[in-house]
Symmetry: C2
Subunit: 194 residues, 2 copies
DNA sequence: GCATAATACGGACTGTTAGTCCGGTTGTCA
DNA sequence: TGACAACCGGACTAACAGTCCGTATTATGC
């Protein structure tokens, strides 16, 4: 057992917790309805174990989020066009926004938990994930479209795919996923045009 | 004393509570740092009084918000152009977004409290205020720009003036209020152009 | 002024939650 | 197999939103 490996029981519990948390968030109307006690109980694990593994609620949610985002991250970092690095900047920005929207639509429960519960002073905007995608978008926009307003435009595009807005469009405005994505792509293209 | 008037002590306490709450939210880093006990104590009032007047935390925050928003609402409903009803739709939309951003920048503490703490399942998007301004913007956009995408565009424009985004732009990206508003106006105009 | 009833007050109380702590247990390795 | 490090569980704490009811204040009719 090398030093950074966890013990077998620890690994088993970690998986059980992630699984249970994901399940509970998915089947709850609001992330607030899911308490840490609920998650521990559903995972068949003591509360102490849950908190020792994940530190606090926000970290648990972030790990769940990271797991769901990993495939997209992979495609963006080293996949084929239009998401990968060899795509033309303009198409790549549109593809990234569309893919983000898709992931958020498909995992809205988790995304809501992430954007909501963060923690006292923790803004979504300071999370490594937001910073990374914002930085990438800003670079792409700066390279091809508008050097001066790149950071600004990147923020605006990301504001348009916030999980709570998407959720509202789906659940209250009854807009289909397809229509949301079509509108979004159109919107991005207009925004990126001169 | 007519039936809808409140007793003198009740009126005094209501004002004290609103004042104290506003003060506390303004001087706190995050709305979460301000508890209802804090507000009651600062207002020199018992907790029961606070909850009897306002029902719950979300209502209190909404009332504070409504007070700050009242002047703008007034200008939009019956003021002169560019905010009032006689303005050309395109200019009016831009003016409304700009004015909203200004109010939010000037009252960021309250706006954060509103967008954050809402309540279990209460989305910002279902509040009467959001619905009202979204409806107005959608109507204006439908009348003059794009009938088909009006509701969508209105949502996107409002997403761009969310309090937490504005706060991030100010406090982390160190963007000046003037620059934010300039970028925003430019962005809105581009969005509303064919 | 004063009696009276309606109204409002305050703070002790409840229920729930995130997060901590430590005595006991289990897995790993020699 | 034995020893020890890592891990486990759930009782515990602190803090919070929201409730309740005996007491105090206010308006009103006389």
């Amino acid at each position: 057992m090398t030093v950074q490996d966890e013990r077998a029981d620890a690994a088993r519990n970690r998986r059980a917790i992630l699984e249970a948390a994901n399940q509970l968030f998915a089947s709850s109307h609001s992330p607030r309805d899911v308490s840490m006690d609920d998650i521990a109980a559903a995972a068949g694990v003591g509360k102490g174990t849950l908190f020792r593994r994940f530190g606090d609620r926000a970290s648990l949610v972030r790990q769940l989020y990271a797991i769901r985002l990993a495939p997209l991250r992979e495609k963006i970092e080293s996949g084929p066009p239009p998401l990968g690095p060899t795509a033309a900047p303009r198409e790549r920005v549109a593809a990234i926004i569309d893919a983000l929207a898709l992931v958020k639509l498909q995992n809205s429960h988790l995304m809501l938990a992430l954007e909501e519960g963060g923690g006292p002073a923790s803004s979504v905007y300071q999370s490594p994930d937001y910073l990374a995608v914002h930085g990438l978008l800003a670079d792409l926009i700066a390279a091809d479209i508008d050097r001066h307003r790149a950071a600004w435009i990147a923020h605006m595009l990301l504001a348009c795919v916030r999980a709570d807005l998407l959720r509202h469009l789906v659940e209250v405005d009854r807009m289909s996923h397809a229509k949301i994505r079509a509108n979004l792509i159109d919107f991005v293209e207009r925004t990126l045009s001169p």
